[in-house]
């Protein structure tokens, strides 16, 4: 006779395992689908310069300039390193708060990602 293990497991244990898996993956809260956002790097600017996302969302920078750039958080919470012309870099938003960032190569280029 086959036994349905899940049916017999205490509900609290199943819930704890589910939450642990979600937490380890750093994804959105249960029931909230992670969204994808794109920030264009063009004409030596981040477009949009400010962006608000939820924890677990994915933010992709795409370099449309002819020169390399970076997206480097002032607090060092994220750093793309060099993004070649035509290249992309994706950050999964995990650190709540407002993250100011700049291009490490071109200090006049600044942006901000707010993570709720």
């Amino acid at each position: 006779m086959r036994v349905n293990v899940l049916a017999r497991a205490p509900r609290a244990l199943v819930l704890a395992c589910t939450l642990a898996i979600l937490g380890a993956a750093g994804t959105s809260a249960p029931g909230v689908t992670a969204k994808e956002y794109t920030i264009a790097i063009e004409d030596m600017r981040f477009v949009p310069a400010t962006l608000t996302v939820r924890r677990g969302d994915r933010v992709t920078w795409i370099n449309r300039d002819l020169v390399p750039h970076t997206a480097t958080a002032t607090a060092k919470t994220f750093d793309s390193s060099s993004i070649a012309p035509g290249g992309t870099w994706t950050y999964v938003a995990t650190e709540p708060g407002t993250q100011a960032y700049a291009c490490a190569f071109h200090p006049t280029m600044k942006g901000e990602v707010s993570i709720r």
């Binding site: 004409d43 030596m44 600017r45 300039d65 002819l66 020169v67 390399p68 012309p85 190569f105 071109h106 200090p107 006049t108 280029m109």
Partner: protein, 181 residues
Amino acid sequence: MNFKQAASTLVLSMAVTVFAAQAEGPTDPQIAAIVVTANQVDIDAGKLATSKAQSKEVAAFAERMVVDHEGVNKAASELVTRLQVTPEPNATSQNLQQGGDENLAKLQQLDGHAFDRAYVEHEVAYHEAVLDAIDETLIPSAQNAELKALLVKVRPAFVAHLEHARQLRASLDQVGRLGQE
């Protein structure tokens, strides 16, 4: 700015604005030669500064000038190849080359803070002069739409470089003042 720097800036400005005084602007092959030469002289100065700069910020800026201007020249070379335009040397491109050579000769004789100061001062003047040329001569004169679009696309990089160079100059001025105290 001392006399030598002022003279150097004047030569540079004359080099890139010579066409402004003429009835007709440069042709597309001449613009191609001006763009390639303008980038190349800054690459050459950047390579020298990468090895000679005292300040790590100046060295990092110089490295950026090499990378960025090589990127612009790569795009320009690919475009003129595709368009089958052969860059045509002209008075402006030759003056730019001469100004670049004179700048290198001057920088070779300097060291330490004096080198950093002279290199950055020239970078400010160079980017100001090239931006003027882009706005007043090169973009208005370009006939091919793709060549014009390339000039429009590279312009923001020159603006960002100019602002970066001005910030560096201000910080070097501060270091110079502190050194005198």
